[in-house]
């Protein structure tokens, strides 16, 4: 195993870790907005890291150029989709979550 493959494996494993954190946050957090926070940033960073590791593993070919194109596309579109969904939720009138014993939290 050469140094290039070792670096690629480390970067890809870090990206898979961020994807796992995004999934756990999507299940465990209490509100739509906090879940959007978890999946909008962690998933984007995870996909970017995994594709960057695959580019390092592939070397300098046409395939790695295409994978870099996927990287740029996901980095642009994944936060855009999350933002559009969150804006639709705010216009819809979805209330944010407050703690139960908070002064302004009547919703629970």
């Amino acid at each position: 195993m050469t140094f290039q493959f070792l670096v690629a494996n480390v970067v890809v494993t870090a990206g898979a870790f961020f994807l796992l954190v995004g999934s756990i946050g999507l299940v465990r957090l209490p509100d739509f907005y906090t879940r959007a926070h978890a999946t909008g940033k962690s998933d984007t960073l995870g996909v970017i890291l995994v594709t960057l590791g695959l580019v390092i593993h592939e070397g300098l070919t046409l395939n790695s150029a295409k994978i870099a194109l996927i990287l740029a596309f996901v980095g642009l579109t994944n936060p855009t989709a999350t933002h559009a969904l969150t804006r639709a939720a705010i216009r819809f009138g979805l209330k944010p979550w407050f703690r139960k014993d908070d002064a302004e939290g009547k919703e629970g």
Binding site: V27, F32, T80, A81, A88
Partner: protein, 91 residues
């Protein structure tokens, strides 16, 4: 080297199975849509990994690009449709 991508594929499958809980019993429609988007994003990475397992990266990259575009357009279309709805008491 091939073993590593097989392990990565299994790990990604487990990661994809977690947000299905949020899709099945999300309290609101937006939670379900968010979970569907997260599953789509992770499935993209899984397709790319499968291409590395079977050593046919040139074919699977195009599938991944098409999947990314479809996932993005689907989420944007649902969000634009939900902008036209009004709140009727309970979401």
């Amino acid at each position: 080297m091939d073993k590593y991508f097989v392990y990565l594929g299994v790990l990604l499958t487990v990661i994809i199975l977690i947000p299905l809980y949020r899709i099945v019993r999300g309290p609101t429609l937006f939670d379900r849509m968010l979970g569907a988007g997260a599953v789509g994003t992770k499935t993209m990475v899984l397709i790319l990994t499968i291409g590395f397992i079977f050593d046919r990266v040139d074919m699977f990259i195009d599938i991944t690009l098409a999947y990314a575009v479809l996932n993005f357009i689907g989420t944007i279309a649902i969000a634009k449709y939900l902008l036209t709805l009004k709140s009727r008491g309970k979401p």
